[in-house]
């Protein structure tokens, strides 16, 4: 191993090594299957925000293609959120009809879910409460044994997280650890005006995660939409178990333009324009209260990136579909606008961000396609790309552990 300068991020995390990373984890179906089995079906995954289902009976159904299922998140009459597989216990129909999109929203009166096939009805706790012609079922049929199949669910700062394991190895707080403390206090719940974009991208889910896990690409990829962010640096690198965090600092912002400046004057909603309003940040975020701090890039393992800034926050999530296909969801959160002009100003900022995301997503299919050639066997990362290295380190150690366990049991 060659020497790493003492001031580098890598010098603080020597366990991550500094060698090039292999390419096969982006291409191998075997590797992908192991990721699904020992990460996505074992760890906590964020699937929504509490504000999406504020009232009793409100539900969201989210497709989870990697697990060949869809999860129902429903707020019960008691205000508690339940999570269930969207599968009727009678003959397996979907209890809530999905509208064909990735997410289906609605409200069930009294939080009662009735399957449209034969009318089996479940309450917000998933209990089977009504079966038409129940007396015609044989005596071995017990209503109490045929509740909706539950999924472990918990929340943190308004984030709804599920765990598909029969028995999660850790609770959500244990899983989040110091990552939770790092972001606790950020006013996620008061900045709930959300603009969501999504796309199916023909690349491995990690190609997508990688692209948003460093700022090295900003001067090149975002020369179009963020011409003011070329002189940047990264700092405040912190690793919390599987999760991590790093800050983006920029010497300048986008240059003033007639529409951009007007929008920013009405409502500061863009990461590329300086916002003038004071904003309360958690202690550990921009700890020196540096004026050039732009935003914090954080990652909740395995597939959720939460970026927090002053006056706005945004997330990226990559859902695996196959070894070379994923679903990307980008969400941009602001305080709800109070006037029509504020709504207009926010739309300018969101449009500019949408365009920047179009710039980001542009590389992903090309990268996958080029790696498939097999011409390149390994990739090289610089110090600012330590978050990619950390993610690889965690994922690969899990996959290797699964391999070892499989070899052990085969003996």
């Amino acid at each position: 191993m060659s020497a790493v300068p003492a001031t580098s991020f890598l010098s603080r995390y020597p366990e991550l090594g500094n060698s090039p990373l292999p390419v096969y984890p982006y291409l191998s179906t075997d590797y992908y299957d192991k990721e699904i089995a020992c990460i996505f079906k074992q760890d906590w995954l964020c699937v929504g925000r509490e504000e999406e289902i504020p009232n009793p009976g409100d539900f969201k159904v989210k497709r989870l293609d990697f697990a060949r299922t869809a999860v129902i998140l429903i707020r019960g009459k008691d205000g508690k959120i339940g999570a269930f597989h969207n599968v009727c216990r009678h003959r397996g129909n979907k209890v809530i009809t999905e509208t064909g999109g990735e997410e289906t929203f609605g409200n069930k009166k009294g939080a009662m879910m009735t399957c449209r096939f034969h009318g089996w009805t479940y309450n917000g706790s998933g209990n089977l409460v009504a079966v038409p012609h129940e007396d015609k079922f044989p005596p071995c049929f017990k209503r109490s044994e045929n509740n909706l199949v539950p999924i472990h669910v918990d929340t943190w700062s308004g984030f709804i997280c599920i765990n598909l394991a029969a028995k999660p190895r850790r609770s959500l707080p244990e899983f989040l650890g110091g990552f939770r403390t790092h972001l606790d206090g950020y006013p996620f719940s008061s900045m709930v005006h959300c603009h969501t974009y999504y796309a199916h991208i023909n690349c491995n889910w990690k190609i997508g995660m990688d692209a948003f896990s460093e700022a090295y690409h900003v001067p090149t990829i975002h020369a179009g939409s963020f011409p003011g962010l070329t002189d940047y640096w990264q700092d405040d690198c912190a690793i919390y178990g599987e999760h991590h965090s790093m800050a983006f600092y920029s010497k300048d912002m986008n240059p003033p333009t007639p529409v951009g400046s007007k929008a920013n004057e009405i409502f500061g909603a863009s990461i590329a324009l300086k916002r003038s309003e004071p904003f309360p940040l958690p202690k550990g975020v921009n700890p020196r209260r540096h004026k050039n701090w732009g935003f914090e890039q954080t990652s909740m393992f395995p597939n959720y990136l939460i970026h927090v800034a002053e006056g706005l926050w945004f997330t990226h999530q990559f859902w695996p579909i196959s070894q070379n296909k994923c679903l990307w969801e980008g969400k941009y959160y602001l305080k709800p606008p109070q006037s029509n002009s504020e709504q207009w100003a926010q739309r300018y900022a969101v449009t500019l961000q949408r365009n920047a995301w179009l710039e980001d997503t542009a590389t992903m299919e090309d990268t996958q396609d080029a790696l498939l050639s097999g011409a390149v066997k390994q990739i090289h990362l610089q110090d600012d790309e330590i978050m990619l290295r950390h993610a690889f380190h965690i994922i690969n150690s899990r996959v290797e552990a699964a391999d070892k366990a499989a070899t052990g049991s085969a003996k």
Binding site: Y197, V259, N340, S341, W344
Partner: protein, 113 residues
């Protein structure tokens, strides 16, 4: 449907049918099929009237704009859609070096403003 803008916005009248569009999808599609010079002409006309439009729509509570002012607000939203292209992308009607825009969807993009 013909749109008649108030007299003080007559400079925007030639753009009303093309750009007073209800949804983000429609505004982005119109931007993509425009010529660079058409984007510039619309931008130049709309930026002059932007302050007056925003002042006018703020007479209504959020989301409750009525009558012809709905069209004026949609023209302002089209200006927001077009602005990065004129201010940053050299009037390129597409986002340069981008993922296929038609393959990126948005939950809010089909909802009329």
């Amino acid at each position: 449907m013909s749109i008649r803008l108030p007299k003080q916005f007559s400079e925007l009248q030639p753009f009303a049918t093309t750009w007073a569009l209800a949804t983000e999808y429609e505004r982005a599609a119109q931007r993509r099929r425009s010529q660079p010079a058409e984007l510039k002409a619309f931008y130049d006309a709309a930026i002059k009237k932007l302050p007056a439009i925003l002042k006018r729509v703020d007479k209504y509570p959020l989301g409750q704009i009525k009558g012809v002012d709905v069209h004026l607000f949609r023209l302002a939203l089209s200006l927001a859609e077009v602005a990065p292209h004129v201010e940053f992308y050299g009037c390129d009607p597409k986002v340069p070096f981008a993922f296929a825009e038609e393959r990126m969807f948005g939950f809010h993009c089909a909802i009329p403003d």
